[in-house]
Assembly symmetry: C2
Homo-oligomer: 226 residues x 2
Amino acid sequence: MRNSKVPGVTIERLPLYYRYVQRLDRYETNVVSSSELGKRVGIPAAQVRKDLSYFGEFGRRGVGYEVDSLRYHLEKILGLNKTWPMLLVGAGNLGRALVNYRGFLEQGLEIRAVFDNDPGKTGSNIVDGLKVEPLENLEKRITELSIKIGIIAVPVDSAQEVAVKLVELGINSIWNFAPTLLEVPSHIFLRNEDLSVGLMSLIYYSANYESGKECSHHIEKNSEDK
Amino acid sequence: MRNSKVPGVTIERLPLYYRYVQRLDRYETNVVSSSELGKRVGIPAAQVRKDLSYFGEFGRRGVGYEVDSLRYHLEKILGLNKTWPMLLVGAGNLGRALVNYRGFLEQGLEIRAVFDNDPGKTGSNIVDGLKVEPLENLEKRITELSIKIGIIAVPVDSAQEVAVKLVELGINSIWNFAPTLLEVPSHIFLRNEDLSVGLMSLIYYSANYESGKECSHHIEKNSEDK
């Protein structure tokens, strides 16, 4: 099913296809074409077909993809047919927002443990049934819950230290929301989510709009137009 | 300076170049090569040169880009040499996180007005000197502050309604954090920031890691490897 030669851009687009197919499913559409998928994600139909072909042949020429089947395959490819318990370090506003983010809950993606070094925060519920724990509990909880994915939502100054700790304790994938570049060993998967990057591209378009240039772009993150 | 033929992927990468060059500047590096820039963003050097060439010739063959000059040009291209006042609708956890996000403040990107329809939130300070206002104030404040950029951080069910309102009142760029697809007129620039998309690609890598496949990817959002 999985192929290590799959380009990063393809992997970044799989969730976009999945999100769209999920929405289609609700309205009981049976078939979706590569050009329709491409339009939503902002890439040519041929690229959609190429992306999906890395994982097998589940479309039919001239017809498209069966929505149910495509959804099923994307779930398997993305690993969403299993549970991936996650932990979060940082119980500030961003941490709270992530724990409550409806987009995660809809996908069954659940943050199972939350940590903070502020004694004013530990012990309290960040959400019903989920208490903020001190960092000393990290090791115990990572083992107990078999957690491999860690989300970092701490201030810039402590992000590197937290990353080192998570790697030491066996976390293999880190999603970093602190706007700083982290150093981790090369076998760790690190995703930096620098929100100011998104904002800067928005400003680019707004600046162009102001200067009277054409501006007609609706994008999902990571879309590609060529 | 600006060219309407610039591909969306290039525009998405400009902030990544800018963020890196900004960091270099602090350590007083004088020159940066396209291969170094490419390495940080995860694309080939040739693509970096192509991306930047849309905006003029500011690199030197065999030498690279002067850090100061590249930073200056990227600031101008991205419109960061001007102020872009923004408004935020939704004073929940995510809204609070965005108002306080250090990555924005570092770039001088400031949320100048915050709105919520919850009377329990309006009137209180979301941060020092910034009060949450009722939605009735939208029109007045958009005019007063000449705001063209709106951030939506409301629950899924009210996101579309808020978007329609913002467009009516003259907002031209919308950054949507509600995990739902919004319908806006084609002259509006809409950026959907569905955080579950990032999480799903993280899970893909974690799933691959578990199954013993090689996994060595450090990515910045929107990076491309081919």
